[in-house]
């Protein structure tokens, strides 16, 4: 069905709609996760899906992340297209052999004999008071593994388009969804062929004075900062590398050439983070000669996520941090 209709829905509903459409389209798509059974998953994503697709396709697994992800890899290599949900990204630790040593390597190691079309959904991030073991943003680990693709949507429309593209992709795709975004509501295309292409960085807001590269839950904060700064006559361009790996750097380089000033921001802790890679690639590119100021990285502090609301907020960049960083860069001549 091709239509131009838009519907307001939450990020969570958009992911579910994307999965549902793909499961209707392709019988080989199955969905498994810990505790997504008849009594409904921890984040209610599987509600209704079980009624439509039954327990043959909505597979409730024990809390055995290694078995679940390994099963997805084995099923993908033999003809199914599994979607797998790990309740908290923190627990991808249990599944690292299946993901890193098996899923990411099978195709290459076997000389191209097979493919592993699977999606690993990873709810991530802080801000919910869940503490140090349920709040991490571990995307940089995954971006260090050739063979995986890593994507992270920031809006409901991206969430729907990207989950569909991830399901149709013939590689293992890690789909990182930020829990703070689940309740965000926005227009989502109902067109069943609407997809967000994997491997593209998007310009979320065009501008000419300064470039901000950010993703996930920091995008709304950057957008908020841009609106406040616009009132002061500062025109911010915001880029969103929705695909973190392999990353499309071309729009970033072009933007930096235009503005000469760049902030790279993410919630994950700074050391070894994806931001360092983005900055290095800017430095390696022709944009280096156009920089009018040092590059600023805004990132999570290099500490575990604390419980207390005030402390938790202090760990990750906030809107005011974007504003401060923008003024700091504009002061550099």
């Amino acid at each position: 069905m091709n239509n131009n209709e838009l519907k307001k829905m939450t990020y969570r509903e958009a992911i579910r709609l994307g999965m549902t459409e793909e499961m209707r389209r392709d019988d080989n798509v199955i969905f498994m996760g810990g505790d997504i059974g008849p009594r409904v998953g921890a984040f209610c994503l599987s509600a209704e899906m079980i009624d439509e697709f039954g327990e043959e396709r909505i597979l409730d697994t024990p809390i055995s992340e290694a078995a679940m992800v390994g099963t997805a890899v084995g099923a993908a290599a033999t003809g199914l297209r599994p979607i797998c949900e790990i309740m908290f990204m923190d627990f991808v630790t249990f599944a690292m052999d299946a993901l890193v040593n098996q899923g990411a390597k099978m195709r290459y190691m076997f000389g191209g004999q097979t493919q592993v079309p699977m999606v690993l959904r990873l709810p991530a991030g802080s801000g919910t008071g869940a503490g140090a073991q349920h709040s991490q943003s571990l995307e940089a680990w995954l971006c260090h593994v050739p063979g995986l693709k890593v994507v992270t949507p920031s809006t409901p429309a991206q969430a729907k388009g990207l989950i569909k593209a991830a399901i149709r992709d013939n590689n293992p795709v890690c789909f990182i969804e930020h829990r703070l975004l689940y309740k965000i509501e926005d227009d989502v295309p109902l067109d069943e062929d609407f997809m967000v292409e994997i491997g593209k960085t998007f310009i979320e807001r065009p501008g000419k004075d300064i470039t901000i590269v950010t993703y996930g839950t920091l995008l709304p904060k950057a957008m908020e900062a841009a609106v406040l700064l616009a009132a002061e006559g500062i025109d911010v361009e915001i880029l969103n590398p929705v695909t973190l790996y392999p990353m499309d750097m071309k729009p970033v380089v072009e933007s930096v050439i235009k503005t000469g000033r760049v902030i790279v921001a993410h919630e994950a802790s700074k050391t070894g983070g994806v931001g360092g890679e983005i900055v290095a690639r800017i430095a390696e590119s022709e944009a280096f000669d156009y920089l009018n100021a040092p590059i600023i990285r805004l990132a999570g502090l290099d500490i575990p996520i604390p419980y207390n609301r005030k402390l938790e907020a202090a760990v990750v960049p906030q809107t005011k941090d974007f504003i401060r960083a923008v003024y700091c860069l504009l002061d550099c001549e």
Binding site: D26, A66, A75, A77, D97, Q102, F110
Partner: protein, 325 residues
């Protein structure tokens, strides 16, 4: 015990010899550097490695271990392409990118030899899920070693396979030794099959050096899994004569232990059976051995004459490019 046909006994003896000759050849090649990496050998384990695969039906799948040459030969892989892979040639199963520990033939049901201890348990659950979901009636035979049964993946996958009634035969080749340490130092139970109790699935321990016992037990286990009753945990007590791998070439297994198992050599055991029961004449047996030996000489010749991969191929096949329909 069912009466075995001449045909199956011929296949058993031929393939067990092929496996033995293949590994003897690899052992010869390793010090010279022709085999660039490691190549874990399983000489002594041919009954369980080879014969278990002969009990499979067409379309059944296997997941092999890092010590998987003989398992692959049992499953019917082409020794030419295997030898080419060990020599890192472009004609090898994995175009020279896998080597000894990663020999795969996915389209024919070998979902790959696995370099990770216990790495194949979960993958087998996935392959079996596909069979169950698509109602193919096929079974997955999952090979693993004794130490793999101490990995978390063993327990997670047995539990999952049990509750989902997946068609898998988990086959633990207990060769009594880890890298260098006796298994008895790493687990207090005598039989790994006892662990089946925790998952409410059948668990059986057999003499893995006896080709006929292996064959008959596998037939039963595969029939059970194929009938939709769920997985089976089989444990075969066996022995490898060589060290763990390159690093374990100087093995410290007690000499008397090695000697005791050499007396139970599976290839010799089958040979004696064939003679004693007059299945084949001495001359026929000699012919089978010669043909198996020749196939390995030819494999080496094929591998030696094969080209190396182009350096530009290093970038190929990291990702599948096309998008699914």
């Amino acid at each position: 015990m069912i009466e075995l046909s001449e045909g199956i006994l011929l296949r058993m003896y031929y393939k067990m010899n092929q496996a033995r000759f293949f590994e003897e050849k690899v052992a010869d090649l390793m010090p010279g550097g022709l085999v660039h990496g490691t190549a874990p050998l399983s000489m002594g384990q041919e009954a369980i490695d080879v014969v278990s695969c002969l009990a499979l039906e067409k379309g059944d799948l296997v997941s092999l271990t890092h010590r998987g040459h003989s398992q692959a030969i049992g499953f019917g892989l082409d020794v030419n392409l295997m030898m080419a892979e060990l020599l890192g040639k472009a004609t090898g199963y994995c175009k020279g990118k896998g080597g000894s520990m990663h020999i795969a033939d996915v389209k024919n049901g070998n979902i790959g030899a696995n370099g990770v201890f216990g790495g194949g348990f979960n993958l087998s659950c996935g392959a079996a899920l596909t069979q169950k979901y698509k109602k193919t009636g096929k079974v997955v035979l999952c090979f693993a070693g004794d130490e793999a049964a101490n990995e978390g993946s063993f327990h997670e996958s047995l539990n999952l396979a049990s509750i989902w009634k997946l068609p898998i035969v988990f086959l633990i080749e207990n060769n009594l030794n880890g890298l260098t340490t006796p298994v008895s130092k790493h687990m207090n139970i005598k039989n790994i099959s006892d662990r089946s109790t925790s998952y409410d699935i059948p668990g059986i321990t057999i003499d893995g050096s006896d080709p006929l016992e292996v064959y008959n037990t596998l037939l039963k286990a595969l029939r059970y899994a194929r009938a939709g009753k769920g997985p089976v945990l089989l444990e075969a007590k066996t022995y490898r004569y060589n060290g763990h791998s390159k690093s374990g070439a100087q093995d410290n297994s007690p000499e008397e232990e090695v000697e005791e198992w050499r007396k139970k050599d599976p290839v010799l055991k089958l040979k004696n059976y064939l003679k004693d029961n007059q299945v084949f004449t001495d001359k026929q047996i000699q012919t089978i051995e010669d043909e198996a030996g020749n196939s390995i000489e030819n494999a080496l010749e094929f591998a030696m004459a094969s080209p190396e991969p182009e350096v530009t191929a290093v970038l190929d096949d990291v990702y599948a490019c096309e998008v699914g329909e």
